[in-house]
Structure formats: C-alpha cells, structure tokens
C-alpha cells in the first residue's frame, strides 16, 4: 500500500485542479505567514505603513463624501470629534488582496496573464476597500446600533464577494486565451 503512495500522489498531482488548490493554499498561507511574522516581530515595514496609508486615503475619501468633520491620526479616523474608527488588520483589506493574489497566481495561465490579472484586480480591490471603510465610518457615526452587524458580518464578506467575482472573471478570460 505504502509503495503505491508516490504513484498515487503523482497521479493526484497530475490533476490541474489539485495542483491549483495546493498552490493556492501554499501561496495564501505563505503571504499570511510573512504578514503575521512581520506584525509579531514589529518590524514596521509592512503592516503599519500600509494600514496608515489605507487610513489616510479612506479618511481623505470620508472628507470628500461624508458631511462630517474628519480628522486622521495614524490609523485612527475621527468623526466630528466624538467617533473614532481604528483601522486594523482585517479592516485594511490585505486579506482580500492576499486572496486575490493567491487566486490569480495559482491558476495555470501564462505569467503575462497572471501579471496582467494582478495589475488589473488588486487596485480595484484596494479601492473597494477604501469605500468599505468609508461606509463603516458612516455607520459607526450615524447608525451605531447597526455597527455590529455591518462591521462583523456584512463588511467582512462583501469584499470576498467581489474577490470571488473578479477571480471568476479572470479565470474565464485566462482560460479562453490558453
């Protein structure tokens, strides 16, 4: 039985879908592990600058869209001096970017297509996340009773819905050109 194991693994590895699933998990796990390590070692080269950048941009967007007085300090967006929204991991949109990147890179397409996919979809997700933060700031300030359901339920999933849809769009395009 054990002697057949390498052959079985080889057959399994020959299946594109298996290879894709394994590659996806490895890339996703690797990206998250690097991010986790950077956070825990407090290197300050990735998490903090990126989160501050997202907070600054979404704060700037809040100033344009929302009829409130907005202040930005580090990863905190203040609204009318009485509501504060802190941008952290999970709010900065990196989880969605990682998912998209892993989805694109693991799909068997040419490197040109993969690079094109990254260039096309990652900025889109980044921008969508800024609007997600603006929506959360608005709800936190004006409809705080609904913050729990919006923050922990809808805002968590909405970006994943877009990632999934973009990924299907990408693989259908890439698959046609293969």
């Amino acid at each position: 039985m054990l002697t057949r194991l390498p052959a079985r693994i080889s057959i399994l590895w020959g299946d594109t879908r298996v290879r894709m699933a394994v590659s996806f998990l490895l890339i996703l796990g690797g990206l998250n592990f690097l991010y986790y390590l950077e956070k825990k070692l407090a290197l300050g080269i990735w998490d903090q600058p990126y989160t501050y950048f997202v907070a600054w941009l979404s704060g700037y967007l809040c100033r344009i869209i929302l009829p409130y007085s907005i202040s930005i300090s580090g990863d905190i967006i203040g609204v009318d001096g009485r509501t504060s929204v802190i941008i952290q991991s999970g709010c900065n949109g990196l989880e969605a970017l990682f998912l998209m990147a892993a989805g694109i890179l693991s799909f068997p397409a040419s490197w040109h297509q993969r690079l094109g996919g990254l260039v096309r979809y990652l900025p889109l997700i980044f921008i969508l996340n800024l609007f997600r933060v603006v929506l959360l700031v608005y709800i936190a300030h004006s409809h705080s009773a609904y913050l729990n359901v919006f923050h922990f339920q809808i805002a968590q999933g909405i970006l994943i819905v877009f990632v999934l849809s973009f990924w299907i769009h990408y693989i259908r395009r890439a698959d046609q050109r293969l």
Partner: protein, 198 residues
C-alpha cells in the same frame, strides 16, 4: 454569452444573494448560537484546556468566555458571534447565485454541507478560546526569538489565518468540492436543470 455579461450578472446575483442571506443571518444567527455555543462549551469542558474550567456563554450579539486562575485572577473576553459564523452567508450566497442548478440539488448540497459548517464553527470557536487562554497563561511565548512555544505559535497563527483567510475560503472550498463531486457523480438528468456544471 460574453464573459463580461456573464460576470456582471453573476456579480449582481452574488451581491443580491449576499445581502439577502446577511439579513437572514442577522435574524437566524442568535438561534444558531444556541446550538454552537453550548456544543463548544461541552467540548471545552471535556478537553479542559490547561486544566481550566472555561465558562462560555452567548450574550447576543457576543459570545463571551470567562475563567479564573489563582495566578491571573478572573479573566473575560468576547467575540462577535457574527464574525465567527458570517462565512455561512458566503456559502449560501454562492449556492444561491450559481446558475443552472436545480433547487433540489441546491438543497441537497446545503444539507450535506451543514454538518461540516457546524463542525468548523465549533472547532474555530474552541481555537479562539484556546488562543485567549494562551494569551493569558503563556504570555512569555510572545517573545518568539527567546521563548518559542510550538503550540502557542500554531494556535496564534491559526487564529490569525482564520480571520484573514480560512473563514472566507473554507466554505468556498467546500462548495468547490461539492461542485466537483456533482460533476463526477452519476446524478439523473432530471435532478439537474439544464446542463452539468463544468
């Protein structure tokens, strides 16, 4: 059908289903918590992690846990139950939005996924509690370089990975598996609507 045409239709269907199921989830999750939280509490009582009795309760919309030790006194933490189980909404949205599946097939897929969904939530909540226990009891392991703890690191990374990716992908993966199984299985043509998933 053009790709962009298909995709925009799919996105609209997916978004619509997501909003609908989010609303249903908002109404149903408190009842679902009455199933998940006591089961997890029983699991924790049986395992007795670190020989500590953890009290796990659902105080909508939170699930809270309390324990006490001589060294650390009374400890308390909580997590939004919605955050723990929102991925169910993702699975149901996908199941609803995918075109060309008979209702019977969708119901069958939902029914076969239910035990896996429930099991994942129980394990995930248990690991969340364990992560907090480790935060209190083995704080010195946060110094990875000088005081590395394997179990501590595994649980902490699991907890991080669960929030960042696992919660989202586990049910999409489950749906993918069911889809693959459906394409392979010899299901009578009448059970499918128009054509097999490809």
């Amino acid at each position: 059908m053009q790709i962009s045409d298909f995709n925009s239709r799919f996105l609209v269907r997916l978004l619509g289903a997501f909003l609908l199921w989010s609303l249903v989830g908002w109404l149903v999750f408190p009842s679902y918590a009455r199933l998940v939280v006591p089961t997890t509490a029983r699991v924790l009582a049986w395992i007795q992690p670190h020989d500590i009795a953890v009290e796990l309760v659902h105080e909508s919309p939170w699930v809270s846990w309390r324990f006490a030790t001589e060294e650390h006194g009374k400890q308390f933490n909580r997590r939004s139950f919605g955050l723990l189980v929102y991925n169910t909404v993702l699975y149901l949205s996908l199941l609803t939005a995918v075109p060309r599946l008979a209702l019977r097939t969708r119901l069958h897929m939902a029914a076969t996924a239910a035990p896996a969904v429930f099991l994942f939530h129980v394990v995930d909540l248990s690991m969340t509690v364990e992560s907090y226990l480790l935060t209190v009891l083995q704080r010195d392991h946060y110094d990875f370089l000088h005081n590395f703890g394997l179990w501590f690191s595994v649980v902490k990374f699991y907890n991080f990975f669960s929030i960042m990716a696992l919660k989202q992908i586990v049910f999409v993966g489950l749906f993918g598996l069911q889809w693959w199984w459906l394409a392979r299985a010899d299901i009578p043509a009448s059970a499918k609507n128009e054509k097999e998933p490809s």
